[in-house]
């Protein structure tokens, strides 16, 4: 993992996104530093996926500024996408290809190549069982798909990871594996943004947690001490957000 100079991998300032009359993001500001895991918590319709779209350059902001690794996704979506690995809730892979072929193909799409040894190392690093490497992905579980996608992120040397609802639908064992993997990536200097409504899951690994409420960050909490977060306070806070 390459780290970002200046520490700020994702910077969002005063971001406003409107769909017609509806204002979805209302002067949203947040930043994620290299080697940091940021948990963005929000209920349905709070603006989580719009925030992701803006970071990925799929929508034009009405006002404000987004910067990813110093690049503006609105003007240089391709550049931004090269530095980001986005792992959606349900990782889409080509069902007619094997895990290896999928990773190879997606690397080629970005103009990259990986030799066999590198690929094996990545698969091993994410904990994908070896028998699955050359198997068609049509039988893959959600967790296996996620691991394939993260293996791809490793090979792409992405410095920014966007994780969209990563732990929903994973069994506890798989969740623990996933958290371990995220911690390792953080240790290697990646900036990681986890967008979720899974309070407990994100509290385990996030360094900071932001509450997204009606298009803006209504509160932010920082992990402190061995207990990291006061779970009760988090829960109260999140209930209020959801009620609102």
């Amino acid at each position: 993992m390459t780290s970002i100079d200046g520490g700020k991998a994702i910077e969002i300032e005063d971001l406003v996104v409107r769909y017609g009359e509806r204002q979805v993001l209302d002067h949203l500001s947040l930043c994620v530093a290299a080697g940091e895991v940021y948990g963005l918590l929000g209920g349905n319709g709070a603006g989580k996926s719009t925030t992701l779209q803006a970071i990925l350059g799929f929508i034009q902001p009405s006002a404000g500024r987004v910067s990813v690794a110093g690049l503006d996704p609105a003007s240089d979506p391709a550049g931004v996408r090269r530095t980001i690995a986005y792992i959606p809730e349900n990782v889409a892979l080509y069902e007619h290809l094997t895990a290896r072929e999928n990773v190879d193909y997606f690397l080629q799409l970005g103009g990259l190549r990986a030799d066999r040894a590198e690929m094996d190392a990545a698969f091993r690093a994410v904990g994908l069982a070896e028998e699955a490497w050359s198997r068609s992905v049509s039988g893959f579980s959600k967790g296996m798909r996620q691991k394939t996608a993260i293996a791809l992120a490793l090979l792409r040397r992405a410095s920014v990871l966007l994780l969209d609802e990563p732990t929903s639908g994973l069994d506890p064992g798989a969740s623990a594996d996933f958290n371990a993997l995220v911690s390792r990536l953080r240790g290697e200097g990646a900036a990681i943004l986890i967008v979720t409504h899974d309070l407990i899951g994100v509290a385990d690994i996030a360094d900071r947690i932001g509450f997204l409420e009606r298009g803006r960050i209504s509160a932010e909490m920082v992990a402190e001490g061995p207990d990291r977060f006061d779970l009760r306070a988090l829960h109260d806070r999140f209930s209020r957000v959801r009620a609102g």
Partner: protein, 482 residues
């Protein structure tokens, strides 16, 4: 470029593993092959038959015994339309035109025994030819296998994943178009093979083969780009499929059928019966050869007498009946030409109206291009009719001149009363054997190319429009929420 090829390879791999698409491609490729083989065999058979019939007609003509030249004018000759080399690729209007004309004096007969008249109604469903497969069926198959190419990936989520992997929308669509275009090439390979074969074996000119191939490639490339663009612009494969099948039905099936209705209303054609009656009426108005006091023929007589410096018809050194026949043929032929020009003028006007509809249907442009290059279009047919008419006129006038010079006026006058005079009025059969044969010449390569050029330009414009649309769809893809 290498990224585009990766995309294309992946799309082709997907196609290969989808049994329906693969079956479709293989079946249509086989259909093209069957069309090429049967069409080629039919055309070869027709060419042989027509050759034989023309030869038989030439022999019949030459085998006439000693005859009065006017008998030969009525015995007449047959002109049979030779088959064109590229007709195997695109039979065009071949089935809807007659192929044999009876050439005789004072009359202009129609070309008869066209295939459409003697075929069942099935001919109206379209004739199986490589042109039909490439113009009509290939685009529909491409629609089937291509409608879901991007929209399907959008539904499955891999589109977003691909875009996030760093590929640009344009490159992605380019790769998909390459894959679809490759499938199109597989489908049409037998037709291109036929084109090449006809070109190499001398049945067609290299320029026509090359332009025809270029036209079909442009046509299929247009469909490829349109399909990929539409697939990228809509949310669901089903929507893409319905929109594209609709576009296909409109521009491939509907517009070409509506075009003649529009054209027929704008430039109506006379019937043959009306033309015949009008020719007779105009002839009577010019001069009545049955009336001894007719002013036109009286003037002609005076002119002739003066030319030969004599005062009586009997003193002419030539047979006056022959001169009259020459003059009469000149009159009737000028009328035939005038009415034929009118009719062809109206048809050309209809053709222009129909061609103008190429702005809403590229199929009209490729059909025009293909027929023109195959020399199976209206203008090739018109050329045949005009050459047959020129040959008829020349033949009849040669015979009339023989009547004027080789048959004495006395024998000619007495032939229907006295057997001896009749026998003397017959001239040697050697004359028939020395008459020229009907040898229609083909339009020059430059002429054909010149006529094909406008439709080729229209096709290239369609291709450019398809490319622009695909480029726009590609740019939108970069920004779309996928």
């Amino acid at each position: 470029m290498s990224v585009m090829i990766s995309v294309a390879r992946n799309a082709l791999r997907h196609l290969l593993r989808s049994r329906i698409a693969l079956t479709g491609v293989v079946l249509v490729a086989l259909l093209t092959l069957a069309a090429a083989v049967t069409s080629r065999a039919y055309q070869a058979d027709q060419a042989g038959l027509r050759d034989r019939l023309q030869h038989a007609a030439d022999q019949d003509f030459a085998a006439q015994p000693n005859r009065h030249p006017h008998r030969v004018v009525h015995f007449g000759h047959f002109a049979i339309r030779p088959a064109s080399g590229l007709a195997a690729m695109d039979p065009g209007v071949e089935a809807f035109t007659g192929n044999m004309i009876f050439l005789e004096g004072h009359r202009q007969n129609s070309a008869n025994f066209g295939d459409a008249r003697q075929s069942s109604l099935l001919v109206r469903f379209g004739q199986l030819s490589p042109a039909l497969v490439l113009q009509v069926i290939a685009p529909l198959l491409l629609v089937f296998i291509g409608a879901g190419m991007v929209a399907g990936e959008r539904e499955r989520g891999t589109l977003r994943q691909s875009l996030l992997a760093g590929v640009s929308g344009g490159t992605l669509l380019g790769g998909k178009a390459l894959a679809l275009g490759f499938a199109g090439l597989i489908i049409s390979a037998p037709a291109f093979g036929l084109l090449l074969w006809v070109g190499v074996n001398g049945g067609a000119r290299a320029s026509a083969v090359a332009l025809s191939a270029l036209g079909y490639v442009a046509y299929l490339a247009f469909w490829t780009l349109l399909i990929v663009a539409v697939s990228a612009m809509v949310q669901r494969s089903r929507t893409a499929l319905i929109a594209l099948v609709g576009a296909w039905a409109f521009s491939v099936v509907l517009v070409p059928r509506l075009a003649p209705e529009v054209a027929a209303g704008l430039a109506p054609l006379p019937t043959r019966v009306e033309t015949d009656i009008a020719v007779q009426r105009d002839l009577r108005a010019m001069g009545d050869s049955h009336n001894p006091n007719d002013p036109y023929f009286a003037a002609f007589k005076q002119k002739t007498l003066k030319q030969y410096g004599v005062s009586r018809v009997e003193d002419l050194p030539v047979n006056y009946r022959g001169l009259l026949a020459i003059e009469g043929e000149k009159l009737t032929s000028s009328l035939f030409d005038r009415y034929a020009d009118q009719a062809f003028g109206a048809m050309a006007a209809q053709g222009r109206v129909m061609d103008a509809l190429a702005v809403v249907s590229p199929t009209i442009a490729i059909r025009r291009l293909s027929m023109t290059l195959a020399e199976t279009d209206l203008s090739a047919y018109r050329r045949f009719l005009e050459q047959a008419e020129a040959y008829r006129y020349d033949l009849v006038q040669r015979l009339n001149r023989l009547q004027a010079t080789a048959v004495t006026a006395e024998d000619d006058a007495a032939k229907s009363k006295s057997a001896a005079a009749e026998s003397r009025s017959r001239i040697s059969a050697d004359h028939w054997r020395s008459m020229p044969h009907f040898a229609p010449d083909r339009p020059s390569a430059g002429e054909v190319t010149g006529r094909a050029l406008p439709s080729l330009i229209v096709l290239l414009l369609w291709l450019a429009a398809g490319a622009l649309l695909a480029a726009r769809a590609g740019r939108r893809l970069n920004r779309s929420a996928a």
